[in-house]
């Protein structure tokens, strides 16, 4: 696990709520390739600047983006650390199922190979199993 600190309940609520909107996810995706002004962000959405600004405020409050205070165009920047923290929070649960299911995968292969081996017994010596 990385150096990112664990998120509080409120921070998690804010992050998940912020990401539960298609426009905001599109903004996050756009900012992943580089900073952009409100005007630039509004362009592809056919949305008014105030509407985009509202979305930006939600993302900002959730800690997912920051906006520069000094420059006149106030570019928005992605805060990748917050996304990382959300992913890490999910990581424990994911790990449980990923590890379980990887083992189930192997186990099912084993179970499926068994009857075939029994059938082939006598006909031929154990053949090498092909790996996927």
């Amino acid at each position: 696990m990385g150096a990112a600190a664990a998120l509080s309940e409120e921070e998690l609520d804010a992050a998940f709520a912020a990401l539960a909107d298609g426009t905001r996810r599109a903004i996050v995706a756009r900012l992943a390739v580089g900073e952009a002004s409100v005007l630039e962000l509004a362009q592809p959405f056919e949305m008014s600047q105030p509407a985009i600004s509202k979305h930006l405020k939600v993302l900002e409050r959730a800690g997912l983006i920051t906006r520069s205070r000094d420059a006149q165009r106030r570019p928005c920047r992605l805060e990748p650390q917050r996304l990382q923290q959300v992913a890490e929070w999910l990581g424990g649960y994911r790990k449980f199922w990923e590890e379980s299911y990887d083992r189930l995968d192997e186990y099912l292969k084993e179970l499926q190979a068994k009857p075939r081996q029994e059938k082939n017994r006598g006909k031929q010596a154990r053949s090498h199993r092909r790996s996927p």
Binding site: F16, A20, L90, G92, Y93, K95, W97, E99, S100, L111
Partner: protein, 161 residues
């Protein structure tokens, strides 16, 4: 190519869903989910031993599972089977022992297509707080501990240089 696990967390509903496909017929996957001798072979994180203390697999029957860590720590779960539709669906309650009031309801659905089976788990918690509590106390802790173990290994490797 390995089949990938999908995890879907709803921000507004206290649910969490997982999906994963296996290259095996549904009957076999059903066996693996419903027989204790199979279940203990695969269920749970790598480092924990999965112990089936009780598994009375019928509607109204109870189960009790324990995950045992190498350091002796145990994480215990229990619940009751509410619905069993062989070989497609199991509904069971799920209670993490330290949080007895947080009764989650797990629904497992097995879908078969072209000889492959998709396992879909849908867990409904009593509240978003309880769902997140399960993360924090159950899954997350394991994830964290394993993360710390890796960190420890990395540090000891660094120290040996």
């Amino acid at each position: 190519m390995a089949n990938k696990l999908e995890v879907i967390v709803d921000p507004h509903e206290p649910t969490i869903e997982t999906r994963r496909t296996f290259n095996a017929p549904r009957e076999l996957v059903w066996e693996a989910w419903t027989k204790p001798e199979h279940l203990k072979r695969w269920c749970g994180p790598d480092r924990l031993e999965w112990v089936v203390l009780e598994m009375d697999f019928r509607v109204g029957g109870k189960y009790r599972w324990v995950q045992r860590a190498p350091d002796g720590n145990e994480y215990a779960f229990h619940g009751e089977y509410r619905e069993i539709v062989r070989p497609t669906k199991i509904v069971q309650t799920f209670i993490f022992d330290p949080m007895p009031d947080a009764v989650a309801v797990d629904t497992l659905t097995l879908e078969e297509h072209d000889g492959k089976t998709t396992c879909i788990t849908m867990t409904l918690h009593t509240s978003i707080e309880n769902r997140d509590g399960h993360f924090a106390n159950g899954g997350m802790e394991v994830g964290m501990r394993e993360g710390y173990d890796r960190l420890e290994k990395l540090l000891s490797e660094q120290l040996r240089r």
